[in-house]
């Protein structure tokens, strides 16, 4: 049996089905979709161009004379191809998408319209500053909202995703440490329950990771942290801590203020992974917790669409201690209300994270979300997200096994104890949810819990949808306990594909079309 390092089965069991195939390869609304390389034509194009003038090339002799073997398709063929493909995807607009830690909330369509306004979408990043005042004002306004919600003095807008924001925060911390002559401080504490991006980021910034265990309540074990800090003593090498709050078990780190004081007293800085900020917006300000840097996933908390994997945006708020080390560029406003961009790196700044000014298309959507909600709506959204998660917890805790006792924040974590001796694993349970018309929850993460199932409903679900979801989950849990192993192992049956052979994909990688 093929398994990955988390003990998850990665190749399906062969099962013989008696399903008759259609002549067309279609299954009613679900249409067979070949690759564009198999249906397109190298001599065709779906775009009309005026004739070339036949001018002499000035390409320095580096002209490509061979044909480019990319298929072209006409517009109707293109529409069919992509509409057919789209119908093989699950989506928030289709149903509950309870991926814990990913925050799949509703994406308001007003925001799509706003992002396409020509003064945001059709401006070049290097136009003269006088011609982009509206775009800069939008960035300035967004900064204002973010810094106020966080009670932090500054924000670096440019990071292009959450992990890029982590880089921003940790590099800023490194720049501050180096400026203070503390280049020996390279130890970063990261809890076991952290997102994989945290340890990866720390290493990418030249730090090394010191892992912290969780206690039996799912939070950081303070005893361990305290003794580690004490042992390292006065001339310690502690650069800081990277901590998600609420953590990936869906719990608020209740000793957060002690943690931040302890790290500060050791001369380190507190990086907060803001992936779960949606549980706190309008109620808790990271600046009040002693946070020095925190990225905000605009594509989670403030609803910019996930787009099948991106683009995201990870503005990073910075404390007084770090703000002078922020990357360029950033927007400033003078007394007359004129906006400018600071694009030059001074001796303090940690540098530049990317070309141009970050993700304008996400800034406009996020500001539209923020203004639509206002301070009252943001607080209500936070409360509804927490309420929905706790409602699921309360409604499933008798049949499934909550990983920790007590209430949760915006997401609820179960372990696989309730599946014990059934022969059914977390992955089987997840795949059975697909047949029920649901996207599975996050599974096998966080790593501190066996067979983890992390459910985040968000505030976007109505009580009707939640009740339907709960009814389904209860049904599946009972079915599992009744020992209907076969139907779980063979799931999904109704999805566009059966379970995939991931081991084969990795062992013999086919990563592109080859004629």
């Amino acid at each position: 049996m093929s398994m990955n390092t988390q003990g998850r089965i990665t190749a399906p069991t062969k099962i013989n089905y008696n399903v008759s195939k259609s002549f067309s390869g279609n299954k009613a609304l679900e249409q067979a979709t070949k690759l564009i390389f198999e249906t397109g034509n190298f001599n065709k194009t779906g775009i009309d161009f005026p004739a070339a003038k036949g001018l002499e090339y000035r390409l320095g002799g580096l002209e490509q004379k061979k044909d480019i073997e990319l298929p072209g398709l006409s517009e109707p063929e293109i529409l069919r191809h992509y509409v057919r493909l789209s119908q093989k995807n699950y989506a928030i607009d289709l149903g509950v998408y309870p991926l814990g830690s990913c925050t799949m909330k509703h994406n308001p369509r007003l925001n799509e319209k706003i992002a396409r306004l020509p003064g945001f979408a059709d401006v070049h990043p290097l136009q003269p500053i006088s011609t982009v005042q509206g775009a800069l004002e939008l960035m300035y306004e967004l900064s204002n909202w973010l810094t106020k919600l966080c009670n932090m003095p500054a924000v670096a807008l440019t990071p292009k995703a959450g992990a890029h924001g982590e880089l921003c925060g940790m590099m800023t911390i490194r720049a501050r440490l180096d400026a203070d002559g503390n280049s020996h401080k390279r130890r970063v504490f990261v809890p076991e329950s952290a997102h994989g991006t945290n340890p990866a980021t720390a290493v990418q910034c030249g730090f090394f990771v010191d892992e912290l265990p969780a206690n039996d309540k799912g939070c950081i074990d303070m005893k361990v942290l305290r003794s580690k800090v004490n042992e390292l003593g006065e001339n310690n090498d502690i650069a800081g801590i990277m901590l998600t709050n609420p953590n990936t078990c869906g719990l608020f780190e209740s000793e957060i203020i002690e943690i931040s004081e302890l790290i500060h007293s050791a001369g380190g800085y507190f990086y907060c992974d803001g992936a779960n900020f949606n549980a706190l917006v309008g109620r808790v300000r990271p600046g009040d917790l002693g946070v020095d840097a925190m990225h905000i996933n605009l594509h989670k908390t403030f609803s910019t669409p996930h787009g099948g994997g991106g683009p995201g945006s990870g503005p990073t708020v910075l404390s007084e201690a770090l703000k002078d080390f922020a990357p360029v560029p950033y927007v400033i406003k003078d007394k007359l209300g004129y906006y400018s961009l600071v694009e030059e790196i001074d001796e303090m700044s940690m540098g530049r994270l990317c070309a141009f000014h970050g993700q304008m298309g996400m800034y406009s959507r996020a500001l539209s979300y923020l203004m639509s909600h206002g301070r009252d709506g943001l607080k209500q959204a936070t409360e509804d997200a927490v309420l929905n998660a706790n409602y699921i917890l309360a409604s499933l805790s008798d049949l499934m096994s909550p990983a920790y006792s007590g209430h949760c924040m915006h997401e609820v974590l179960f372990n696989d104890t309730f599946l014990k001796n059934t022969g059914i694993d977390t992955i089987d349970f997840a795949k059975a949810m697909i047949d029920e018309g649901y996207h599975p929850m996050t599974m096998y993460f966080p790593l501190v819990v066996h067979g983890a199932m992390l459910i985040e409903p968000t505030e976007s679900e109505s009580k009707y949808e939640l009740d339907r979801f709960i009814h389904t989950m209860r049904g599946l849990a009972k079915k599992a306990k009744n020992g209907d192993v076969e139907s779980f192992k063979s799931a999904p049956q109704y999805a566009p594909t059966k379970r995939l052979d991931e081991t084969l994909a990795a062992r013999k990688p086919i990563l592109r079309y080859d004629a």
Binding site: Q64, L94, I256, A381
Partner: protein, 446 residues
């Protein structure tokens, strides 16, 4: 609030089911001193109409590229994007899906990624490509870090023609993992000087073609010298349309090719989101950053696609991952791929020729203006012009006449030449635009 489905009746029923009296009880776990008692100094919720009105007012404060003669390039390019592209990327199933971690219900996104990777590999002349990076500049920075992993050497040489933002982003990332980055001063035709600097300690050489001045660089001699010293050649491009007419970097000996894909399918967006392209040869694939989609079969033996080789990635390998990247440019890959599928190789060639011809016409006109001199011996759709005046002043003055006349080189590098203007002409430029720019330039330089 229009985005929140629960009403107060729902809320009180649900609180009852949970067994608490008040929503505050669910926030009990947060220590008192961490709870904010202050009222936020921010406005309350607004109807859709008000938000839209505010945003339109803001949008109107900028001059948008389509409304005036437009000649800016330098890393972001204005091309016509067919209407079907934006229509398709707004389909809920693409727009509101997550990363395709559950392949059975994500075959749409996965097949798009497989097709995208194939298109990028063919376009760059490389064997494999990943499922995108944030943008060209971060792809470039990651390539340098990857070169260190592959060669186990610590020195990177950046050719003078690399876009200064790319160069800074690379230096910022690479220096934190102890890569010694040598950046040469920007000059138009000095890219070949890197050849003399390559030695056995060199991990990689980063060369952009067409470079930031628009000059086309022959990568072959640089690749040869690099390979003699077991160094990797990282080829960079900022304008994907150029690959419709110029020999792909893969055929010129590049080991890693990175670039900006924005020019195909993705608008200017004031600099983001864009889409980073990343390609390399097969033997390096296990050192590549980012997500990769691969072909496999399902339990019925049917072809299907899945994210693969994930033991390189942060969610599996944590502190030993090749990169920390998680979210990438998914939806922009889709836009790129749709536009590229409409173009096909044949359409891409036509589009590239149109761009080159427009730039050719413009360069010939500008060269005749007193006080302006085109510096390039070769170019694709943008070139550098030396002016008798400060380029920034000229551009500002053109802007006041509603002409977006290019990018002063000093905007990218304050220490760089003040009199160089980077001008780009894509297929959207027409004769009237060229006439308007040239007469205005003549006036400025008189």
């Amino acid at each position: 609030m229009r985005y929140l489905p629960l009403d107060n009746k729902d809320r009180s029923q649900m609180l009852g089911a949970i067994g608490v009296k008040d929503i505050e009880d669910l926030f009990e776990c947060i220590p008192k001193q961490a709870r904010s008692s202050e009222l936020f100094d921010l406005p309350c919720h607004k109807p859709e109409s008000e938000v839209e009105k505010y945003m339109i007012r803001l949008s109107d404060k900028s001059i948008n590229a389509s409304s005036v003669p437009f000649f800016c390039g330098a890393g972001a390019y204005k091309h016509h994007v067919p209407s079907s592209v934006d229509h398709l990327i707004q389909r809920s199933e693409f727009l509101t899906a997550y990363t395709p971690y559950q392949p059975e219900i994500s075959q749409g996104t996965l097949q798009v990624l497989f097709e995208f990777q194939s298109q990028v590999a063919i376009l760059t002349g490389m064997e494999v490509a990943n499922a995108s990076m944030y943008d060209g500049s971060t792809a470039c920075a990651e390539a340098v870090v990857m070169a260190k992993r592959v060669t186990k050497k610590h020195k990177a040489i950046i050719a003078p023609g690399l876009h200064p933002h790319y160069s800074l982003a690379t230096k910022t990332l690479a220096s934190s993992v102890d890569i010694d980055v040598c950046v040469l001063d920007s000059e138009i035709s000095s890219d070949y000087e890197v050849i003399d600097l390559i030695n056995d300690e060199t991990a990689c050489i980063v060369v952009q073609s067409p470079n930031v001045f628009g000059e086309i660089v022959d990568l072959t001699p640089i690749a040869e010298k690099a390979h003699q010293h077991k160094a990797l050649l990282i080829a960079v491009f900022t304008e994907p349309v150029a690959l419709g007419l110029i020999k792909p970097p893969g055929e010129q000996g590049a080991d890693i090719v990175v670039g900006e894909g924005q020019g195909i399918g993705v608008g200017l967006n004031f600099g983001g989101p864009h889409v980073g392209l990343f390609a390399c040869n097969k033997k390096l694939v296990r050192q590549m950053p980012g997500r990769i989609c691969g072909e496999t079969i399902d339990a019925d033996g049917n072809r299907a696609f899945v994210l693969t080789l994930s033991t390189r990635e942060q969610h599996i390998r944590r502190d030993k991952a090749t990169s920390n990247i998680c979210t990438n440019s998914g939806l922009c890959c889709l836009a790129f791929s749709i536009h590229m599928s409409l173009l096909g190789g044949k359409g891409l060639r036509k589009l590239a020729i149109l761009n080159h011809e427009k730039a050719n016409l413009l360069a010939a006109r500008i060269d005749k203006i007193n006080g302006a001199k085109v510096l390039n011996s070769s170019f694709f759709n943008e070139f550098a012009v030396e002016l008798d005046k400060c380029a920034e002043d000229v551009v500002d003055s053109l802007a006041s006449k509603n002409i977006l006349g290019g990018v002063p080189f000093s905007r990218l590098n304050k220490a760089g030449a003040k009199d160089i203007l980077l001008i780009c002409a894509t297929e959207i430029v027409d004769q009237h635009d060229i006439d308007t720019l040239c007469s205005a330039l003549e006036e400025e330089l008189r």
